[in-house]
Structures are given as structure tokens and as C-alpha cells.
Amino acid sequence: MSDFSETVGHAHHDADILIHEQAPDLELQLDAAPPPPSTARSRKGMLVSYIGPVVVFLLFVVFWEFMHRWGMRHLLDKRPQLLPSPVTVIDKSFLDANVRHQLIAGLGWTSYAAFIGLAITIVIGMLLAIVMAQAVWVERSIYPYLVALQATPVLAIVPIIYSVFGGGMNSRIYVCVMISIFPIVTNTLFGLTSVDSSQHDLFTLRNASTFTRLFKLQFPAAMPSIFTGFRISAGLAVIGAIVGEQFFREGEKPGIGIVMEQFRQKLRYPQMYGGLLIASLLGIAVFFVFNALGKLVVGHWYESTRRT
């Protein structure tokens, strides 16, 4: 449900907290507008917002090392080699030129699949949302199939994907689209259909066409939820690319999932965990890129009700 937490908040934009209005002379009225945040306060906020993540990261590394040295054997009764120390992981993967090249090449192919998959998802997903926003009966007719697609395990349809898209990159891109399309459609649809009714009246009074209404009212109003959808779908596209690599390994384009699987088969666990780390970094990077992109596009007007 996390994909709705922001878009629902978006609907509150009209619950204005009314500020006492000053005399209609320019300088006094300026006071009536919300004051810009003071730089001293935001600098302190920046510091605090960095300390938290750093502390949690350090705790995570310590816990990992602890599990490697003691926990695996005494808590789980397993061989410690299954979970190499973070130091070993860094040493054997990123500090080994050969392995590093393999991982980075893999990351490249995974990103390629995820990126193309996401681009296709955005186009198809937004078109679907526009169609569904036109009438409730259209929305009701299409929605069940989206939910079904969302619930379909890739494993169950591997043969049919294979026969249509082949055993390589194209099928991985298909898996990306299939896994990441739902949040784009639902968030775009939510944005397009949650426009304030008196804003619609405004357009009705001037006899605006469906097209004008869509591009001057609904789309701009939906931008914050559309970007929420992008952000969630981008993460899912990365997952989709890696899942796709588990089933469709043909061709000379081994993604990070395939590279990791090769290390696993050779029992080179530190290198495999290196791949895991780098794949997570890709997911995090994609999330932040879309977060920043969203802020860039709507940040100057959108009144987020989330705490910042």
C-alpha cells in the first residue's frame, strides 16, 4: 500500500490553513505569505538527516560481521562460509579487477533491460491510465486484468514468454514490464481522477474540450502521483530485470543476476554477495533519481503533506 501513502495525502491540498491577511500594501502582504525556511535551521536539519542513515548503516555492517563470526554457527547452526564477512566480500569482489569488471558489465546489462522495460512501462501504463480515466465502466472492465497480471507468477508463464520473445534480452524486458506496470497505472489513474470538482466546474463553464481538460487540468494535477508511480515502478523494473535473468539467460548479455548465479554455482560466495550489493545500489540509485526528478518537476508548486 505504500504506493498510496503519498497520493492520498495529495488530495488534502485544499485544506488550506488560512493565514491572517495583512493590509493590502505590498510589504505587509509579503509577511502574510509563509516565510522561507531559515538557512541555519535547514543546515541543522541536513546534518540530522545524514546522521540517522550513517548510524543505521554502521549497525547493519556490525550485525553482518557478528552473524558471520558467531551468529551463523551458534544461532543458526550453519557454516559461516555461507555468509562471508563484509570485509571479505569487498576484498574478493570490488577490489579484484577481474571480478569487478564482470560485476560492472552485469550491472550494465541489467540496467539496460530495466531502463528499456521501464520506458515501455511508462508509455503503456500512462496510456492505459488515460483510457481508464475516461469512464468508470472502462476502469472497472480493465482493472481485474491488471490485478491478475500483477498476481501472475513469472515462473508459470515462462514457456509462453520463451516462445514469443525468445530466451534472451527481449524476454527479460517483457518480465520488467509485467512486474512494474501496476503502480504506474494505478497512481496515474488516481491522479487523473482525483481532481477537485470545482476545478472541473471551472473548465466546464468555459466549455473546455476533453483534450484541453486532460492536458491543462488533469495531467498537471496528477504529476505528483505520477512521479510516485514512476519511483515505485523504477524499483520494480530493476527487480524484474534480475528475475527475468533467472529464466532467460541466452545471448551474450549476462546481467548481474546471471553473473551472481555463475558465482553461486562455483561456490564463490563473497563474489556473489558483491553482486547482491551492487544490485541493491542500482535499486537505491534508481529510487533517488526518480525522487529528485519528481522534486524538480513538481517541487516548486506541490504542497506535500508528508513530513520532510
Partner: protein, 266 residues
Amino acid sequence: MAASTQGDMSAPTMVTQMTDSASAPALRFNGVSMVYPDGTHALRETTFDVRPGEFVTVVGPSGCGKSTLLKIASGLNKPTTGSVDVDRTKVGYVFQDATLLQWRTVQRNVELLAELQGMAKVERRQRAEETIRMVGLGGFESKYPKQLSGGMKMRASLARTLVLDPKVFLFDEPFGAVDEITRERLNDEVISLFGRERFAGLFITHSISEAVFLSTRVIVMSARPGRIVAEFAIPFDYPRAPELRFDPRFAELAGQISHELRGAHS
């Protein structure tokens, strides 16, 4: 009548072209009643008109169909029976909320209606700059709605309506959500606009003092289904000074309206 740009608004069947004569009503309700699809009987056989230079305010208990009057006048709703005579290309509608588009600056918000009407870019930009100054928002053209106070948003909303130079102004409880001081200030603003433009005004409110202060005529409506139970002519001259609110004759009129309104509730 000012020769402002007319869009492609084809007038609905019941609309008749108003003449330039000051005596002809700018807006006329002919036996209008309204029953909503869910069976709510909002309005019963209502007939009255608003002439150019008249400012008519309708007061009444909540849910008496006051807002329905405006929705019918503007064409957003069709009456169940009866008809409305008005030139819809000349109607300006001020909503309960400012309904500014949050992604547009004040300037671009004020241009919106003219833009939808198809007014040329240069002309609408100039018109918007004029009306923004008129409502006292000069210097705020490039601000976004989130940077404005509630009262300033309402001013921007007023400016947006003024751009099309409407001859009939419909106000749907526009200042219901702002505090008392801001409301009085916005009332002063509306009064001075009315003094200058002499449009035909139809104003909906819960506030008796607002009604008396603004209007040439106050109409009291009954509880649902709404119908007219009393009418008061308000004799004060324009421009009206804020001090008018403390005039004994003002209090007297407000008292009479309040009395009728209490009767209307039962």
C-alpha cells in the same frame, strides 16, 4: 457592453440575448425548481431577477438550495422545471474555494479563463496584469498558490473572474472559509469593484452582515425545498464605507433579516 473577445460558447436554448438597456434584467429565474436525481427537493418555484447595477444577496439556512441557484444560473446544472434567462458568455463565477491551479503562478492562474476562451496571449496577459493590480495583488504575479494566504488566494480567484469582464457576477459563499477581518477586507474589495464596474451581482452567504453590507437587495430563502420568504431593499449609497457596519440603520436591517431567517428555519 464592452466588445470583449467572445469564444465559441454556443448559447443553450433557454438563453436569450440581453439588451443594453439598464432596465432589462441581466439574469432572470422563471419559476425555477430543482429536484436532484437522488430525490432531494432543493428548490421550489423560484422567480426573481437581477438587473445591471443590482447586487442581490441570497441568505438562507444550510441546504436551502442557495448554491443550486448559482449552478443553474451558470449552466452547470439544468433546472427540473422553469428556465433562466442570461447571456452565459458574460457570466463570471466565483467559487467557494479559490480553486486556483496549484501548478500555475498567480499570473497564469488569472489568465486561465481567458486562455480557455481563446483570447490572444498578449491581450490576456495584459488583462491579467490589470486585474491583478485591481485586486491588490500587484507584485505577486510569479508566486504559486501555496505561497499565498487564504485571503490572497481569494483575491487571485476574483482577478481570474474579472479578466473576462463579466456583466453577471455569481458568488458562491466565496469568503466562508476566511477569518472575519480578511472577510471584511474582501467585502470592501467587492464593494469597490461593484462601484466601478456596476455588474449584476448574485451573492450567496450565511453572513447577514455581509449580505446587508454588500447588497442593494437581500433575499431570504426558506429551508429545503428553498423558496423566497422575504425581500429587503438595502437603501445605503455606494461607495459604502466600512463604518457603515456600525450604523444603527444597518443593525436594524440586519435584525429584521435575522428575524425572517429564524422563521425560515422552522
